[in-house]
Amino acid sequence: MVTIDSRGIYYRDLNRMIKQAINDGAGEVVLKNVNGQRYIGDGLRGSQRIVIEGTPGNDLAAYMDGLEILVKGNAQDGVANTMNDGTVVIYGDAGDTMGYAMRGGQVYVRGHAGCRVAIHMKEYQDKVPLMVIGGRAGDFLGEYMAGGILVVLGLGLQPGEDIVGDFCGTGMHGGVMYIRGQVADYQLGREVKLVSLDEGDYQRLHAIVQRFAGYFRLNTSRIMAEPFHKLIPYNKRPYGDLYAKA
C-alpha cells in the first residue's frame, strides 16, 4: 500500500505519482487530503484499488478499465466517463454527467447525483454497466441510454422531493432503470414506459441492493421493502421512422 498526501499537489503531478506507484507494483494507493484534483484513475487498467479521502475533481475514473476506487467524500462531475470496467464507490454525493457513455463496471453512490447522469450508458456482450444512486438524481437521467442497469433508491428524500428530475429517459433505446418510488408521467421522456417488475427483476435487484448495502452498511430488506418501478424504452430504434428515403 502506498499513501500519498495530495494536499496542494497539481493534478498532473498527482496522477503521475499514482501511475508511478501502480507501475511499481502497489496494490492499493491511498490518497489523503484530495481537494479537487481531476482525472484520478483516468485511463488506468488493472485490478488495483485507489482510496480517496477528500473530494476528487472532475472525470474521476474516466476511461478506467478495471480498478476499484473508493471515495470517502463527495465526487464532482464526470465520474466514470466512458468507463470500460471497474468499480467506483462514493460515500457522499456525485455531480453531473456521471457515467456518460459508460460501457462496463459498477458505480455506487451513497448520496444524491446531479443532472445528465448515465447519458448514453451502453452495454456490449458480457459488459453490462451498473449504476446505483442511493438518493435522488437530477434532470435528464439516462438520456440516450443504450444499455446497462440504473437503480435509483431515493434514500433520505425530504417529503415532497422528487426522486428523479424531468426528461427522465429521453431518447433511451436500451437498458433498464429501476426506481424506488414514484415517477410522474410528465417527468418521463417520450421514448420510455413504466412497467411492473417480475420475479426475475426482484431477484436481480435484491443482489444489486445487497452489494450496495454492503458498501454503506445499510439494511437490504428495509430498502427492498418499498416498491420499485421499472423503466424501459419502447424500442431500441426510437428514430427509425424519422427519415424519408428517396
Binding site: 481531476r38 476511461y63 464526470g78 466517463n81 460501457r103 431500441k236 424519408a244
Partner: protein, 500 residues
C-alpha cells in the same frame, strides 16, 4: 394508399443492338434496376430503381448501357424546380426528414475557383522540382513559443507531433458508414505515403490495430468503441464536435447497418441504432472542452496530439480561438461542402459557411491573438485537387483532410445514395456481396496514386512560385490573388485582387 407521385430520376438506355443479355448488369445492381425475364430470355430495366452510380455502365461488356437524367420536365419554372416539387411529393407521402449523402451540391460560389496562384518570372527564379529538393513534410501539433538550445540539443522536449510526408490526410469516415475494405484501402494508402487516416466515430476494427500508428482515432458524442486500447492505438486523438455536412446535429447509424463486425468495433449490440447525440453532453463551454481534451491527454500520458474537429459556422474564428486556448494541438475545420454517409438534405445544403472563409478568418484571428503557434489547422470540406491544397496552405492551413476525393479514388461515382447501404462500388455498404467488390490492396494503390500525383503537382506549383519548402507557403497570402470577388470577400480572405 394514395397515388404515388414518384417518377424516375434517371433513364437507363440500353442499346439493343449491343446488349447480349448476359445479365452482368442484373448481378451488379444492388438496387435491382436491372432484371432478367426468364421466359423471354432477355434483360430489362426499371428506371425507378436507378441511382445513376454507373456500375452497370462501367461493367457492361458490350458498352450497351448509358444513364442520363430522366427527360420528364415540369412546366418551366425557375422557382418551383423539379427537385423542389419531387421532395414535397416524397415528404407528403412519408412525413420524414429528407436524407441524402455526400456533400452540399448546390451552386454556391466556390471560392477556391476565385483565387489564383502566383508564379515567379525573371526575378526570384522558379525551381524545378524534378532536379532540386522540394520539402512537403508537415508536422501537426502544438509548437513551442520559443526554442532553447542547450549543448546543441533542444532544451525541452517538443509537444507530440504528427509527421506527414505531404499535407494531406484522409478525413474521418467510420466503419459502419464505409466498408472495412474501404477503411483498409485508406489505412494502407496512408501507410504507403506517410500520412494518416481517421476512424471517424465508429471505433477501430481489430484488423486495423497494426496500422494504429497511421490512425487518428476519433472520440465523438456517442463514444463508440472508445476504450483504453483504442486510445493507446492511435497516433492522435480527435474529438469530433461537428461535421461540415451536418453542423449542429448528431448522427444516426441505422440498426440494419450494425452487423456483427460493426457491433464488435463500436462495442454495441447488433441491430441497435448507433445514436450520436448532437452535443457532447459533458461539453457546455470551452472549459468543459478543455476537460475532455485533458482527460484524453491524461489517459494517454500526454504522448499524442489531441485534435478538435468542428464544422465551419458563422463565428468560427472565435470558436477556434477558444479551442486553441482549451489546449487542443490541432483544430480541424470542416466546411459546408464536406461529405458524409448520411445527413438531412436541408442541413447539408443550407447550414455552415465555405471553408475558404472559415480558414482565412481562423488563421487571421489566431495570428492576431498571437496563438497561431499553439495549434495546427487542418481544413476539409471539398478539397478537390492539388491546387485547392496549395491555395489552402497559402491561406494558412497546415494540412487538409480529403474524404470525397479519396472515395472517388476508390471508385465512388458520387450518386449521393450512401445512406441506403447499397453502394454498388463496395464503399458505403456493409453487404458482403458488395464490399468484396473493393479489393483493399487495389484500393490502397489507387488512393496512394492520388496522393503521389498531387504531391508532384504541389511541388510543381511550389517550384513555380520559387518556393522550395511548403512551410514558406504557409499563410503566405501574397501568393494568392482574387478574381471576381467583392472588396469584402477579398478582405475576409486577406488577399489582393488579380492585377494588384
Amino acid at each position: 394508399m394514395s397515388l404515388s407521385m414518384a417518377t424516375p430520376a434517371f433513364l437507363i438506355e440500353r442499346n439493343l443492338d449491343r446488349c447480349i443479355h448476359c445479365q452482368v448488369c442484373v448481378r451488379q445492381c444492388a438496387n435491382e434496376a436491372h432484371g432478367y425475364d426468364h421466359e423471354e430470355q432477355r434483360v430489362y430495366s426499371d428506371d425507378m430503381r436507378c441511382v445513376n452510380c454507373h456500375r452497370c455502365v462501367v461493367l457492361c461488356p458490350t458498352r450497351a448501357l448509358s444513364v442520363r437524367q430522366f427527360p420528364l420536365e415540369f412546366r418551366a419554372n425557375a422557382n418551383w424546380t423539379a427537385e423542389v416539387i419531387h421532395n414535397i411529393y416524397l415528404q407528403a407521402a412519408t412525413g420524414g426528414i429528407l436524407l441524402t449523402g455526400m456533400g452540399n451540391d448546390r451552386p454556391y460560389p466556390i471560392y477556391w475557383d476565385h483565387m489564383l496562384i502566383n508564379a515567379s518570372q525573371v526575378t526570384n527564379p522558379s525551381i524545378d522540382p524534378l532536379r532540386e529538393p522540394m520539402e512537403l513534410k508537415t508536422f501537426l501539433g502544438r509548437k513551442p513559443e520559443k526554442i532553447v538550445i542547450e549543448n546543441g540539443r533542444l532544451k525541452e522536449a517538443l509537444p507530440p507531433q504528427l509527421e506527414l510526408e505531404l499535407p494531406v490526410m484522409f478525413s474521418a469516415m467510420s466503419f459502419g458508414s464505409i466498408s472495412l475494405n474501404a477503411m483498409k484501402s485508406l489505412a494502407l494508402a496512408a501507410e504507403a505515403e506517410g500520412t494518416y487516416y481517421n476512424t471517424g466515430e465508429g471505433g477501430l476494427h481489430k484488423d486495423l490495430y497494426p496500422l494504429g500508428h497511421r490512425t487518428i482515432v476519433q472520440v465523438a458524442s456517442g463514444r463508440f468503441g472508445v476504450h483504453p486500447d483504442y486510445l493507446a492505438a492511435g497516433a492522435a486523438i480527435e474529438i469530433k464536435i461537428g461535421q461540415g455536412a451536418k453542423p449542429g446535429i448528431g448522427g444516426h447509424l441505422p440498426g440494419e447497418k450494425v452487423g456483427r463486425e460493426v457491433s464488435e468495433t463500436r462495442m454495441i449490440p447488433e441491430g441497435t441504432d448507433a445514436l450520436s447525440p448532437a452535443p457532447h453532453h459533458d461539453i457546455y463551454s470551452i472549459e468543459d472542452l478543455r476537460q475532455l481534451i485533458y482527460s484524453l491527454k491524461e489517459a494517454t500520458n500526454y504522448s499524442k496530439p489531441v485534435s478538435v474537429k468542428i464544422a465551419a459556422v458563422h463565428n468560427v474564428a472565435a470558436i477556434a480561438s477558444g479551442i486553441a486556448r482549451a489546449g487542443a494541438d490541432i483544430i480541424a475545420i470542416d466546411g459546408y461542402r464536406g461529405g458524409t454517409g448520411a445527413t438531412p438534405l436541408r442541413t447539408r445544403d443550407h447550414v455552415g459557411i465555405p471553408i475558404e472563409f472559415a480558414l482565412a478568418a481562423v488563421d487571421s484571428r489566431l495570428r492576431d491573438e498571437g496563438i497561431r503557434n499553439q495549434v495546427s489547422l487542418v481544413v476539409a470540406g471539398s478539397i478537390r485537387h492539388s491546387a485547392d491544397i496549395v491555395k489552402a496552405v497559402a491561406l494558412g492551413a497546415d494540412a487538409v483532410y480529403i474524404g470525397s476525393a479519396a472515395l472517388i479514388a476508390l471508385g465512388c461515382h458520387m450518386c449521393q445514395k450512401c445512406y441506403t447501404g447499397k453502394c454498388n462500388w463496395g464503399i458505403a455498404t456493409q453487404d458482403p456481396n458488395l464490399t468484396k467488390r473493393l479489393n483493399p490492396e487495389i484500393g490502397a494503390k489507387r488512393a496512394a496514386n492520388l496522393l503521389k500525383a498531387w504531391k508532384h503537382e504541389i511541388k510543381e506549383m511550389l517550384g513555380g512560385m520559387g518556393i522550395n519548402a511548403l512551410e514558406s507557403l504557409r499563410g503566405n497570402r501574397l501568393m494568392l490573388r482574387g478574381i471576381g470577388l467583392t472588396d469584402r470577400e477579398l478582405n475576409i480572405l486577406g488577399i489582393k485582387a488579380a492585377g494588384e
